[in-house]
Symmetry: C2
Subunit: 498 residues, 2 copies
Amino acid sequence: MGLTSYQHLEKRFKRIQILRSVIHLLRWDAEVMMPRGSSEVRAEQLSLLDTECSAILHSKKTLLLLDRVESRMDFFDDWQRANVREMRRICLCSNAIPKRLVNSLHRATTKAEMRWRQAVEEKNFKLLLPHLQKVVDLVREKANCLGNKLGYLPYDGLIQEYDPGRESQKIDSIFQVLDSTLPALTDEVIAYQSNHPPLGISKEVSIKKQKELGKFIMQRMGFPFHKGRLDESLHPFTEGTSEDIRITSKFAENDFLTGLMGVLHETGHAMYDFALPAEWFFQAVGRDRGMTVHESQALFLEMVIGRSREFMRFAAPCISHKFGVTGPEWEPENLLRLANRVRKSFIRMEADEVTYPLHILLRYNLEKDLFSGKLQVKDLPEAWNEAFSQRFGMTPENPNQGCLQDSHWPMGYFGYFPTYVLGGIMASQLYQSMVKDQPGILPQIEAGEFKPVFDWLDQKIYRFGAKLSCRELVVQATGEEINPETFLDYLRKKYLNP
Amino acid sequence: MGLTSYQHLEKRFKRIQILRSVIHLLRWDAEVMMPRGSSEVRAEQLSLLDTECSAILHSKKTLLLLDRVESRMDFFDDWQRANVREMRRICLCSNAIPKRLVNSLHRATTKAEMRWRQAVEEKNFKLLLPHLQKVVDLVREKANCLGNKLGYLPYDGLIQEYDPGRESQKIDSIFQVLDSTLPALTDEVIAYQSNHPPLGISKEVSIKKQKELGKFIMQRMGFPFHKGRLDESLHPFTEGTSEDIRITSKFAENDFLTGLMGVLHETGHAMYDFALPAEWFFQAVGRDRGMTVHESQALFLEMVIGRSREFMRFAAPCISHKFGVTGPEWEPENLLRLANRVRKSFIRMEADEVTYPLHILLRYNLEKDLFSGKLQVKDLPEAWNEAFSQRFGMTPENPNQGCLQDSHWPMGYFGYFPTYVLGGIMASQLYQSMVKDQPGILPQIEAGEFKPVFDWLDQKIYRFGAKLSCRELVVQATGEEINPETFLDYLRKKYLNP
């Protein structure tokens, strides 16, 4: 007996998933292991595998199979139906963009990223300008393609690649609430904290010890080291599929907290990936539910749990023990203050939980203006500085403190930034719901028992893979949609009434 | 203007080469980095990429292009012609074996290798027997396919996958010379050396220091670390393509010499790969010339150069300096004696340059008897012990000292063993010719100047890729074919008149 159309489709998507798992490994290796001089052949490898995935998604046979299967959806159970829906979505996204445009974008972003590094070195936006212009032109074309094909406004078409179902109109209303509240709240928190300054930590801690601490805490959280690793890289990241997930952090002798928080962030990403439904591992519906949900899991662990009083009470003795240190600066309450210090910074990557959304919504507004034609690429530095100064009351002294600080735009990632904040809001909602559901969970965290936390996340998020939409997941878990007011309540309580 | 048939073929083989480079990386990662629990998905990845390569080699279009191009060979220069010849050879080898047989072999060897580990643990050949029987049956079928298609005897068909153009009749006559000489020579050398025993080294050296020493010597030899790495693994190996080559060695605190010699062996492999003709990187003719040539390069560096007086005079002060040691046992002459000690051992992997060929030709004879039907798989342990005792005058006490010691057979590698010895003979010939060509080269080695050595190898071997046959390479470099008498002369001089 031959395979059914549905089984044929599953076979094709299994192929894609295996190819993607190889791509993940090649990317991890490029950041952690690969000799510097091997980047050209690595680019060839990645491009070949990527083309191979696209070829499956673009093939007439795949589309024919999808048509056939969609005409008999009542034969299938709800997981299979969701799988078909995700297959169609992935095909639509991929096929919306002509191959010619994919290639031009690849060339343009590779060039722009190289120039971006140079521009950063020389603190000179003009070096990047023509290349960024080219990228924006091409991404605008891509936005039109995606928007047309998927039935969205052009900019919203871009968002679909990262966060399926999200629309900028909704983001606008969420971000407006934050924009009108956070600048004042920031000042309030800074004033409050100036009356409760933490003791500084001057002791240097070897990277080896920091990694040991990181691994110890990962172990306590249930990170399955038989299917994953922790390594070092220039920036923390997570790569892999649930069968082999590798996280990295960046460690500095004089700042163990940043390294540890990086470990927690990436562990949050990894725990989500590890727990995706195993029986759907090779299938579209077995993937994660996009970047907002993924980021919510990372921020939940890094910002919410990792910077909670309960976690610090658990972690402080571990830190003292592993590092061989004691003293008032290593007490939980002081570490908590250190980890939750709010400060105005030019740099997004250094920002805290309160000011971070401001960094993002500034970028989001500029992106939208670039795509509506209201803003020219050449005017970006000025527009950035104006928007920054409005929100932070200070002006970048050079473009490295301004619009050159991120690689997202040179790399063509427009429509991605909002997921950082939406994920942060979602994380705060999950936390409040979890604590309401299971009030006993906080003492368990304090005791270093993290299983109930991950069990709860599994019940609410992990096990659904891409079966439900982000909206459905949030509503199911928290009883409401992504809600900036809940986030603001959480911030006020945590930072003004800690 | 469209591509010519030849250009289309090049494009197809470029694809194969990129896929192969990914396979190399996945294999390296599996041994050095991969979490234990990720082996299933790794197997899926490797199988998919392998199938992808085969699909190109099996496609009607590829074969049609080859036919077309071969009918106009006079249009091409000699590199292109050699490239087409290699493409055809690779296609023939791959297409000779039906897909069904490839899959059965894959399943059977995977199973047999697992059982082999268990059999080793329990020192019980019977656990392996049915699985090895299955592998032998399938490899026999493979041998018939390859022999038929390539115009060789069945067993010689197997050899073609490792060492193109080699025939067992020639191997027989080479091995007969060694078999009739080496047992007596071994006794003679052992007697000689018992009058000149080296001082033992009891000091333990940290693995970190040993790796630093290895890297230092690799650097001196010109190993391009911007396109390669040194790591640790259970057994030393080399994986990669000239754009990204990774070698490993196995280090033990109480035996730095073995670790260092492992580094040299793999560096020999790597230097060959690095120097393959860059302009043919993606093409069949740009590959290495099979396992005899490859092994000759590894043994040249490990056995010939690395165990020479000149090398030890260079290395001894480096060792003293890096390890912080002095004393008569660290003097060049003593290190040389330690490195060149000849001893009868049951285990091939522990064997020295003099006894090593005996280990191999024993295996070679058994293989041939298995394939001619003269020997049954079930009688292997007995036949092994008999053959071993004939040559070494001692009998293995258990199968781990006998026919269970290598994984080659369970993994289906029949016809591979001879390349170890042929490579060793070739290495000794290259050495003698090099020294004759450039008598000044020995003092340069003593001064740690290795460039002239690698330049000479480049002139004679590296730069030809797979353009010439192994026979052509050896004759061009040394003025004679692979010659066991030259090897014996080399051994006598080195071990009886050092």
